[in-house]
């Protein structure tokens, strides 16, 4: 957190809405569309207050036609606008992925750089409140695997604002994922980490830079999104046991800050990757492989990973708790790693 600090604190949700509002004020070409972004203010509040401020021409409620309106965002972006399109839950990507990965993400490349597609696709991710397997996934691994779009996932209110501003100003398509459990919504289980200092004035957090959110010397925990908070909580517990944990918040998966991963592993010699996405063929493998590629000789133990064990997210509370990474899982993982 390098920008000027202020005492004002916001939830991540308010920080996102503020970032969009400020950018809409600054730039006429920015507009928002999606289901329930208008009078409802976005199911997760990302567009709160915008309809009143900017009216229905710039804050557009859409039919449940994700292919049409995300594709329309692509078309508008090509023609001088900077649309923000909201896919209500990332889990719905399957009805519109072609427009996202084959069109939004590839037109710039196909055109040899001639056509730009400056748009933001916002979407809510994550579980933990018994919304079952079609409303609780994070799926960032899926998006990060497919080239041509940046993928950002803020974990703090400060980053949420700064990354949204960067995303809107970026000349590339940016998929901006916010974890429902990190937003600080009134109707979600209270999350103290969701609220943090956020400067009033607009500022940009660079896309593609990870952040060491907690320094440590014994083990590096690499993660993203809500699990950053889980990792910090675990680190506090472990501190009491004399284990010093460094927590690296990736903040974006594309571009992936491989240097930051390698650097931290070179320092701690031990790596645990925590991911709320499905375990296999995803983020955990990529981060571990990055460490292997860059810091193989520095590793004192094989890196380990804690992730969703390749099952659809179950509904029932004990089942969901079992599959999602928890603070206890991280504590146990780190202990095992240090003992190895």
């Amino acid at each position: 957190m390098t920008a000027t600090m202020t005492e004002r604190k916001l939830t991540m949700q308010k920080a996102i809405a503020e970032a969009i509002r400020q950018e809409m004020e600054r730039d006429e070409s920015v507009f928002v569309m999606g289901e329930d972004v208008g009078v409802y203010g976005g199911i997760f509040g990302a567009t709160e207050g915008l309809l009143d401020r900017f009216g229905p021409d710039r804050v557009i409620d859409t039919p449940i036609s994700e292919t049409a309106f995300i594709g329309a965002a692509v078309g508008a972006a090509i023609h001088g606008m900077r649309p923000i399109a909201e896919l209500m839950f990332v889990d719905f990507f399957g009805v519109c992925m072609d427009q996202i990965y084959n069109n939004m993400a590839k037109i710039h490349y196909f055109s040899g750089g001639a056509v730009k597609v400056p748009m933001v696709l916002t979407t809510a991710v994550g579980g933990g409140y018994s919304d079952a397997g079609q409303h609780s996934q994070t799926l960032w691994g899926t998006f990060a695997h497919l080239p041509g779009m940046k993928v950002v996932v803020p974990s703090s209110a400060y980053d949420a604002k700064g990354l949204m501003i960067s995303a809107i100003r970026d000349d590339n398509p940016v998929v901006y994922m916010f974890h429902k459990g990190a937003l600080g919504l009134g109707w979600m289980t209270h999350n103290p980490h969701a609220t943090g200092p956020v400067p009033e004035e607009p500022y940009a957090v660079p896309i593609g830079k990870a952040e060491v959110v907690r320094e440590g010397t014994d083990v590096t925990v690499v993660t993203i999104g809500l699990s950053v908070h889980r990792a910090i909580d675990a680190a506090e517990t472990l501190d009491a046991e004399g284990i010093s944990v460094e927590v690296l918040d990736l903040r974006s998966l594309v571009p992936l800050d491989r240097e930051a991963i390698v650097e931290s592993v070179k320092k701690t010699h031990r790596l645990l990757v925590v991911d709320e996405d499905y375990r296999s063929f995803g983020m955990t493998g990529e981060v571990i492989t990055t460490a292997i590629e860059g810091a193989f000789d520095f590793l004192d133990a094989p890196p380990i990973r804690i992730a969703e064990p390749d099952v659809p997210i179950p509904y029932s509370r004990p089942l969901e708790r079992f599959v999602l990474p928890g603070v206890d899982d991280i504590v146990a993982g780190v202990r095992g790693l240090v003992a190895a």
């Binding site: 289901e35 329930d36 208008g38 009078v39 409802y40 199911i43 409620d61 859409t62 039919p63 449940i64 036609s65 994700e66 292919t67 889990d91 719905f92 399957g94 009805v95 933990g128 409140y129 018994s130 919304d131 079952a132 397997g133 079609q134 409303h135 009134g186 109707w187 979600m188 289980t189 209270h190 064990p309 390749d310 099952v311 659809p312 179950p314 509904y315 029932s316 509370r317 004990p318 089942l319 969901e320 708790r321 079992f322 599959v323």
Partner: protein
Amino acid sequence: MRLHDEAIVGAARGRHDLKEVAMEIPRDDLVAMYATMAKIRYFEERIREIYYEDKLPAFDIAAGPIPGEMHLAAGQEPVAVGVMPHLRPGDAITATHRPHHVAIAQGVDLGRMAAEIFGKDTGLGHGKGGHMHLFSVEPSFGCSGIIGEGMPVACGAALAFKRQGKDNVAISFFGEGAANQGAFHESLNLAALWNLPVVFICEDNGWAISVPKHASTAIADNSDRASAYGMPGVLVPDNDPIGVYEAAGAAIRRAREGRGPSLIEVRTLRLWGHFEGDADAYRSEEYKQEMAEHDPMVTYPERLIAEGVATPAEIDALTKAAHEEVDEAIEFARSSPYPAPEDALRHVFA
């Protein structure tokens, strides 16, 4: 006052002369429809009540005996119960994120359904699916959390029936919001093209969360879209169980006889918020008041009594029986055990 943009709800209430209809519709069906409506409404009320347990005062969606999103169908009972009397064993239904009324009308095991909603091991899916993912084999019921997802599946069930030489039908329920999803178009075209025994039933409650139909749909009536597929399209304008009964009866007969799919649109009412916890601030008090006046749980039994189809005492008895059945199901659900945490790893593959 216009609850739906283009039709005054209840304007067509007198459309069915019950005396005349009674000649066509067995009294038993008229009464059974009420009984099922009572079961549905009480189920939704009980779930609603329990849903808020331990979630308040500061509403926490993750807390309480029933966590997660909860989409209740109070007001939409007529759509479900009007279809039900025409079903036969082996027929298949796909429903939506708002599935309880349809499942109950079809006769899905109420206890196991409630248990699934409670996340219990005795639930239809051993707690894996929850309220939006209720699956029953007999009767064949499925639903989903993705808008429009069930429509292709219904086509496939119908294709199977056709191929197997059965005269079963598949019914696909979906909201008016879903009618703007690509799956609607593809499914209706496929069903018409292959002459499949499917009936598409659009539950037009006028709202997709906070978005009114006029802000999502370029024309007034989705039933008019049937012509784009060369299939019959019927509008039931008044949330009337009898209107649904007639339209669904004709469509299901048609499908069973191998004469292909139909589209039925029913103007219905979503009496409560989109999901529980929804402040429903996008609808005026006046609007909500008028909805309450057209509550089918009031108007339908009134009619049955007024037209001499049932006595007040009969209605009371049916209501009581329905409540007892629901209470028992809920009690079963409440008292059932949770699945073991590591059971989360089971059932990924058969």
